[in-house]
């Protein structure tokens, strides 16, 4: 499974990204996970983070580099990313569950409290997810940002949801 053949990352590819927080960091509190791998000319993520946690640098084709110590996991960068490849993961949500915050541009939006399918990067249903928050303020420009809780072992797997009974995520 590789990005350019299947459309999603192998674990090895993921681990090599400069936007990937370490396992240890993820267990300390919420943090952004930047799944941007291809040096495309793009940089809105850098300006979107007021904490200076994401750095692109002089050339806009540089991959976004994460300073995990500066990221508080606020999620404000998610809707700013045209590639929809920023996610915030919180492994400290409860003893057994973590949360995933992700961009979502489909209707209908799920409602807070709904139980939905959690889908991995390959589009497979891997677990149930509970919807905790659905944000779509005007400044997100029609990209909703949704937070779900999932069993901890799936927090680095689940990247979108599917409402039960709907045919796509």
């Amino acid at each position: 499974m590789t990005l350019i053949k299947d459309g999603y990352f192998s674990q090895t590819e993921l681990a090599q990204l400069p936007g990937m927080p370490s396992r240890e960091r993820l267990h300390e509190g919420p943090c952004v996970v930047i799944e941007c791998a291809q040096q495309i000319p793009c940089d809105p993520c850098e300006a979107a983070c007021h904490e200076g946690a994401i750095e692109i640098g002089d050339s806009i084709i540089n991959l976004p580099k994460l300073d995990p110590s500066k990221c508080g996991g606020c999620g404000l960068c998610i809707a700013a990313c045209p590639g929809q490849c920023l996610f915030v993961v919180d492994m400290t949500y409860s003893d057994t569950e973590g949360t995933v915050q992700f961009p979502y541009e489909f209707l209908p939006y799920p409602q807070k409290g709904d139980t939905v399918h959690g889908l991995n990067r390959g589009g497979d249903i891997v677990c149930d997810a509970e919807v905790l928050k659905v944000l779509h303020p005007k400044k997100f420009d029609h990209t909703a940002v949704i937070t779900v809780s999932v069993p901890k072992e799936y927090a680095m797997e689940v990247r979108t949801i599917k409402i039960k009974g709907n045919h796509h995520g």
């Binding site: 990005l3 495309i40 793009c42 809105p44 050339s59 806009i60 700013a80 590639g83 979108t160």
Partner: protein, 363 residues
């Protein structure tokens, strides 16, 4: 309309950007487009664009389009819609049909910004209703808000195929599969990942074998290819679909440049045969310029920069900008273009552009 300083053919991002640069410094400018709406492809692009702040990154194509139209209105350029340009003749004469009337407009400078045409893949059944180009689907879904079908087979994994698949999902259709003959996804991985995680199968080394149906598409048979690109017998699969969308690449729409007698060259990474142009976007014919997809298939953001470059160069050549002012403006545009033509995807286009410009100097 019998005489203008600058006639621009095509009101896409390239033509509009050129109009803004030229008209805002005083060039008397008219833009012709056969469409009923200005904006070219931009009003079909409802996704957020890449780039940097200087390229309006993060804004959706439709909003970038609205912004350009506002700037055109402020610049004083005139846009004539529903107006087809059918020929260009000696002495910089432009043949247009507007309001059912044939008019010849003489222009001191001409900019061809006609965009691209879509490549067609012929397979058994490809003329059945329901087989549509990606641009047609985008027009129907995003502009007219009509869904041509519910179950779609997408052909091609370039950015257009990936983006249109996503837009179909957003409109409520299902993309049953996306097939790609190459052994890798052609477009950006972030676009691929969006549809992949939403459940769309992306099948590389696959193609369509045939479409069948009674009066319209009802089924498509897809088949796997080996590493030489040949069909692997026995791998046929039949899918129930009501739409087949072709996203098999674009070619510069350059008939007018042919008619006018521009010198052409073949640059594969930019979409094949296209008119040569220099670093002012001027073709081999003095006074005749090109910008956007006609000058090489790229993206809306690069089309905007090329249009600006042409507009500045034209204003300079007509004496509306001093060489010093024009040089500063061109440098700013070139810096932004260079940023866009960088990285593993952009660098081949940058090299191809350099080749194109070099060839314009050969005689």
């Amino acid at each position: 309309m019998n005489h203008v300083e600058l006639a621009i053919i095509g009101a896409g991002p390239a033509g509009l950007s050129a109009a803004i640069e030229a008209a805002s410094v005083g060039v008397q400018t008219i833009v012709f487009d056969e469409n009923q709406q200005a904006g070219g492809q931009l009003f079909k692009q409802i996704h957020k664009f890449f780039g940097s702040r200087a390229h309006q990154a993060g804004a959706r194509g439709i909003d970038i389009g609205k912004n350009l139209l506002g700037q055109v209105a402020a610049s004083g350029a005139e846009i004539k819609l529903d107006t087809v340009v059918w020929g260009i003749f000696e002495g910089n004469k432009v043949g247009v049909v507007t309001n059912g009337r044939n008019v010849i407009c003489k222009a001191d400078r001409i900019l061809l910004a006609t965009g691209a045409s879509e490549n067609v893949l012929a397979f058994p059944g490809w003329t059945l209703p329901g087989v549509m180009g990606a641009g047609a689907i985008q027009t129907m879904v995003n502009v007219h808000r009509v869904l041509p079908g519910k179950r779609v087979l997408m052909i091609g994994s370039g950015n257009v195929g990936l983006i249109v698949s996503y837009q179909l999902l957003q409109a409520g259709a299902e993309v049953v599969a996306l097939v790609e003959a190459m052994d890798r996804i052609g477009g950006y991985a972030v676009h691929a990942s969006k549809i992949k995680r939403a459940g769309t199968p992306i099948l590389i080394r696959h193609t369509i074998k045939e479409a069948v149906g009674n009066g319209k598409v009802e089924q498509a048979t897809i088949v796997q290819l080996n590493d030489n690109g040949n069909v692997i017998e026995g791998t046929e699969r039949t899918l129930d679909v009501d739409v087949i969308c072709m996203a098999c690449g674009l070619s510069p729409l350059a008939e007018l440049a042919w008619l006018a007698g521009c010198r052409f060259t073949d640059v594969a990474p930019l979409g094949g045969l296209l008119p040569v142009h220099d670093d002012n976007m001027q073709t081999s014919l003095p006074g005749m310029y090109v910008a956007g997809d006609i000058a090489g298939i790229e993206e809306a953001s690069t089309a905007i920069e090329e249009g600006r470059l042409a507009g500045i160069a034209i204003a300079e050549s007509l004496g509306y900008l001093t060489t010093t002012d024009a040089t500063v403006k061109k440098q700013a545009v070139n810096d932004r273009s260079e940023q866009l033509r960088d990285g593993p995807f952009g660098i081949t286009r940058r090299e191809a552009k350099e080749t194109l410009i070099r060839r314009s100097l050969e005689t």
